[in-house]
């Protein structure tokens, strides 16, 4: 059917790589090279130990000159690894890099097959497909796009804060978007930090106010990203700003409205104190909340529920900042790069029912204890149990929702250390006997092991063994009125029953419950457990598979504060690299509308995920903005009259490749 005209004779150079033993141990590379030599258009066909090495690349360049080659095929590893290498080599040889085609016979053949004969035949088939494909290759031009210098950071925990300040201090404009009414994240809820026992708030709140006051940072709390369009360097972001029912410009955080609220006492569980105290409908999460602006919870406020409140808050506000009619607001911004620092979620201790959380009042999660021992917490730092007593014995159970086949298999990395810290704080606050029930103490970190040693000197008890259950079933008089922790002590090989007044569950770290939605929104990947997936676990730990989007902190995996801060700095540096480079090279695998062929049927207009297609109303034809096109091919497939083509993926190329793959006898197609 096609009338493909060949402007010049196709002269193919084919190179098959041994990849040491990786390929050559399964695939008979000599036989494949010999076979490809017989295919039409092939001028050179040879094998070489490492095609990606300098001599391998030079071989291609030499052959281009000596044999006037105009198509190059390398059968080796995955294009993800070395396509760029070989394209560059081909370009250095004086040929347009897009006359190059790669055949993956490592990941697709030698690594996945054990039958050498069949693997060799499959390699021949794949090589033949490429040979038939390259006949249709064309010279293409690489495009460059500018990188917008502004950065979006999602998540205002310590990672997001650190990344924002790093970028802002280097002169870049940053938009920091936080879902909660205040930034600070989990760190703001902690009492002290291990191993230095710095007060978390003392080191964090100055950074929070720096964020608020930084001229280069636009801080939007109580806000969520709802839409992400565009591509690296040119993202268009839509952000929903939820109504606080307070005019942010007018409120100065005097909190008079809170005091004058018709509710004399709070009735709603206080989120910041993990439900250990109650707050009013008009509230501020905590005294150092940033921004220092109150908000109204419409679920709790009488005015919202009945419209019949005396509105004493309005009377109290001399700045007239309260606005019951405030509506949610959508903001649209343009940024070039994005850092996701969306944090984590603590394991729900109710999922391990035999530890009694929710059943026995004196079983606490570690996060609750952080608040209980905190001077600004619900009890002013006095350790009072839910039943009003002061604990004399405390048991801390490690690995709750971590290292457990029934819940989460991974180690949450922070629990050992914060359990040691809590043991120290509990002892300091109550002089109680503290027992730690652990599987292993993982104290790998600077000064962490020393901190563990210090705890041993503080007479904290360590019992090595997984706890079987927590119950109130007393069998001895000494156990009456206590919680009994039953655990095997593997050091002495017996099952022990330890009666305590208070149990602390060291809950692990999990991905945020909506991490899959966020992943889809930003078009990145998650690993199996739901943490965001880095581009490379070792060499690109803060990059993602989507250019221009970076990850930092516990959204990528369980992490303590120093690691989160280090990652945030790394992510900021990666963003800065892109911004300061100023532009990025784009693959020319974009789609285009052949104007004469377009019937103007509009099918393509709304299906483009990148909004790259518009309609020229005068000509009544579709038009693709190649800078916006990511080469996904959706429009190419959908165009009902074949008027849209895609570079590197034209029908002739794909069908020739398929024909080549399926034909046992070599035939130049079309």
């Amino acid at each position: 059917m096609h009338n493909y005209e060949q402007k010049e004779a196709v002269r193919i150079g084919f190179y098959i790589c041994h990849c040491g033993h990786n390929i050559a141990s399964i695939v008979d590379v000599k036989a494949v090279a010999e076979y490809v030599k017989s295919l039409p258009g092939v001028v050179v066909s040879c094998e070489y130990k490492y095609m990606c090495s300098d001599p391998g690349q030079e071989l291609i360049q030499k052959d281009i000159h000596e044999h006037s080659l105009n198509r190059i095929i390398v059968a080796s590893c995955s294009p993800l690894l070395h396509e760029h290498t070989f394209r560059t080599a081909v370009e250095k040889g004086g040929l347009n890099p897009y006359y190059f085609q790669m055949v993956n016979i490592r990941e697709d053949v030698s690594w996945v097959h054990t039958d050498a004969k069949a693997a060799t035949e499959k390699s021949k088939d794949l090589a033949r497909a490429a040979v038939q494909r390259v006949f249709h290759h064309k010279a293409l031009e690489t495009k460059h796009v500018k990188i917008h210098p502004d950065v979006l950071i999602v998540g205002g925990g310590i990672a997001g804060i650190h990344a924002a300040l790093t970028l802002a201090n280097s002169g870049k404009k940053v938009f920091l978007v936080e879902r909660q009414p205040t930034i600070g994240g989990h760190m703001a809820m902690f009492d002290k930090t291990f191993p230095t026992l710095d007060c978390a708030a003392c080191i964090l709140t100055p950074k929070m106010s720096q964020v608020k006051n930084h001229p280069n940072i636009t801080l939007w709390t109580y806000s969520e990203v709802t839409k992400v369009d565009g591509y690296v360097g040119n993202y268009k972001i839509t952000i929903k700003r939820k109504p606080r029912y307070i005019n942010e410009e007018l409120c100065v955080g005097c909190m008079d409205c809170i005091e004058k609220c018709v509710y004399k006492e709070g009735k709603t569980p206080d989120e910041f104190n993990v439900g250990l105290s109650k707050r009013k409908p008009v509230y501020i999460p905590f005294p150092q909340a940033t921004p220092q602006i109150v908000l109204i919870d419409p679920e709790a406020c009488i005015e919202f529920k009945s419209g019949r409140c005396k509105k004493t808050c309005v009377e109290a506000c001399d700045r007239k900042a309260i606005d019951f009619n405030q509506k949610e607001e959508m903001k649209e911004i343009e940024v070039g790069t994005i850092i996701l620092a969306t944090g984590y979620h603590t394991f729900d201790a109710k999922r391990v029912p035999f530890y009694g959380y929710g059943k026995y009042p004196n079983v606490y999660t570690s996060l609750e204890v952080e608040r209980l021992v905190n001077a600004s917490g619900p009890t002013g730092g006095e350790l009072i149990l839910r039943d009003g007593r002061h604990p004399k014995t405390v048991g801390i159970i490690h690995c709750v929702g971590s290292r457990d086949k029934n819940t989460n298999r991974w180690c949450s990395r922070t629990c050992c250390m914060y359990s040691l810290k809590l043991a120290h704080l509990l002892k300091e606050h109550t002089e109680a006997e503290v027992y730690n029930f652990y599987i292993d103490i993982r104290a790998a970190g600077k000064s962490y092991e020393e901190f563990y040693d210090k705890l041993l000197d503080e007479n904290v008890h360590f019992i090595r063994g997984r706890v079987a259950e927590v119950s109130d079933w007393a069998v001895r008089s000494s156990e009456e009125g206590k919680l009994i922790i039953r655990a095997e002590d593997t050091m002495i090989g017996i099952v022990r029953r330890i009666p305590v007044d208070m149990v602390v569950l060291a809950v692990g770290m999990e991905p945020q419950s909506d991490s899959q939605d966020v992943r889809r929104l930003f078009n990145i990947s998650c690993s199996t457990e739901g943490f965001f997936l880095e581009r490379h676990p070792k060499l690109a730990p803060v990059d993602t598979f989507t250019d221009g989007i970076f990850i930092a902190g516990a959204c990528q995996g369980p992490k303590d504060i120093p690691d989160s801060v280090a990652q945030a700095g790394a992510a900021a540096a990666q963003a800065l690299t892109l911004i300061d480079t100023g532009e990025i090279e784009l693959e020319p695998n974009t789609a285009f509308v052949v104007q004469d062929d377009c019937s103007g049927c509009r099918t393509c207009l709304t299906i483009c995920p990148y909004n790259a297609i518009s309609r020229d109303e005068a000509k009544q034809k579709a038009f693709i903005n190649e800078a916006l096109c990511k080469g996904c091919g959706t429009c190419v497939a959908a165009c009902p009259s074949g008027a849209i083509k895609q570079n590197l993926f034209e029908d002739e190329m794909i069908f020739s490749e398929i024909n080549g793959l399926l034909e046992n006898t070599p035939v130049v197609c079309c």
């Binding site: 059917m1 009338n3 004469d596 062929d597 377009c598 019937s599 103007g600 049927c601 509009r602 099918t603 207009l605 709304t606 299906i607 309609r615 009544q620 959706t634 497939a637 959908a638 165009c639 009902p640 009259s641 074949g642 008027a643 029908d651 069908f655």
Partner: protein
């Protein structure tokens, strides 16, 4: 007076509509008759196979063959016409694409014969008698042609020079083709003698087609009070226009009937049915599997809808005879 160019019209598996379309040239047919010698036209003139056999090879300027190839007789005649003609034009959808008869490729030969001679509602045949390929009467053998297992388009049987699309081709396109033939002003071999752009380009309702059709169901034309001013797809009716070559000037659409795709795809498309499916499916409103299934279930006959004319040449085509 020099000899006039010789022309034939031949029909294979077709309905006869293509023959009608020749007559639809109206008074222009007189010019045609004046310019050429028609040496074979079974529907209108009494020439026999042996008359054509007697001609020299390539002595006919052009043979216009309509209909698909279903039987051995049609194949034999097509090959004969090819040998005797300088040019062969596949005339109409059946010769061009396989056509309506090509929908039979969804079934095996035996299923078809069994239905026709035993099961169809109008058949009474308790003995299950089937026609014999060869019958002896009075010492003479009477034979029937072989009924192939597969219906083929003309170019799957013989070499074809041009295609005149349509069910049937419009008089305007036929006139243009004849003028080109007689003037010798011929396009590249293999050309479909119609514009190579989809029907939407010339559709009278083009301006009313929305960008996103948001299909919640597909409606059959007889179930809708059709608004004659609005794009049929916008009214939920499957119109093949976006995936069909233009050139008919929207005759069906002007009559408030959707395009059924008889002109076939543009030269750039290998599979018309797959293309329109891809286009329409991408505009289904539902995004969950259940909703999508419910929407697609409103198309009672997907093959007959999307491959009405082109099944034999589609990627779904059957290869075994």
């Amino acid at each position: 007076m020099p000899e006039k160019p010789k022309v034939t019209f031949y029909w294979c598996a077709s309905c006869g509509g293509c023959e009608e379309s020749v007559v639809d040239l109206a008074e222009n047919i007189l010019d045609v008759v004046a310019a050429v010698d028609i040496v074979m036209w079974p529907v209108a003139m009494d020439f026999k196979k042996k008359d054509v056999e007697a001609m020299e090879d390539k002595s006919i300027l052009v043979s216009m063959i309509n209909g698909a190839i279903r039987t051995s007789e049609q194949e034999e005649m097509a090959k004969l016409m090819r040998r005797k003609s300088q040019l062969v034009i596949a005339y109409g959808s059946c010769a061009h694409l396989g056509g309506i008869p090509g929908l039979a490729n969804q079934f095996q030969r035996e299923e078809i014969l069994q239905y026709i001679f035993e099961e169809s509602p109008s058949t009474v045949n308790p003995q299950k008698t089937r026609p014999e390929r060869k019958v002896m009467t009075n010492g003479n053998a009477v034979t029937l042609p072989n009924f192939f297992n597969v219906v083929r388009a003309l170019d799957q049987v013989i070499d074809v020079d041009y295609y005149l699309p349509g069910c049937p081709p419009t008089p305007k396109l036929l006139k243009q083709a004849l003028d080109a033939l007689l003037s010798g002003n011929l396009p590249e071999k293999g050309t479909v003698l119609a514009p190579d752009i989809a029907l939407c380009d010339e559709c009278p309702k083009k301006d009313t087609k929305p960008s996103d059709l948001k299909f919640t169901e597909f409606k059959r034309p007889h179930l809708v009070q059709i608004d004659s001013a609005t794009c049929l797809l916008a009214q939920g009716i499957v119109c093949m226009g976006p995936a069909t070559r233009g050139g008919c000037e929207g005759v069906c659409i002007s009559g408030n009937m959707p395009c059924t795709g008889c002109f076939g795809p543009t030269s750039r498309v290998k599979d018309q049915g797959a293309k329109i499916l891809s286009a329409l499916a991408s505009q289904v409103e539902a995004k969950d599997e259940k909703g999508i299934d419910a929407t697609l279930a409103t198309i009672p006959d997907p093959v007959g809808t999307f491959y009405r004319y082109g099944l034999p040449i589609s990627l779904l085509r059957r290869k075994n005879f």
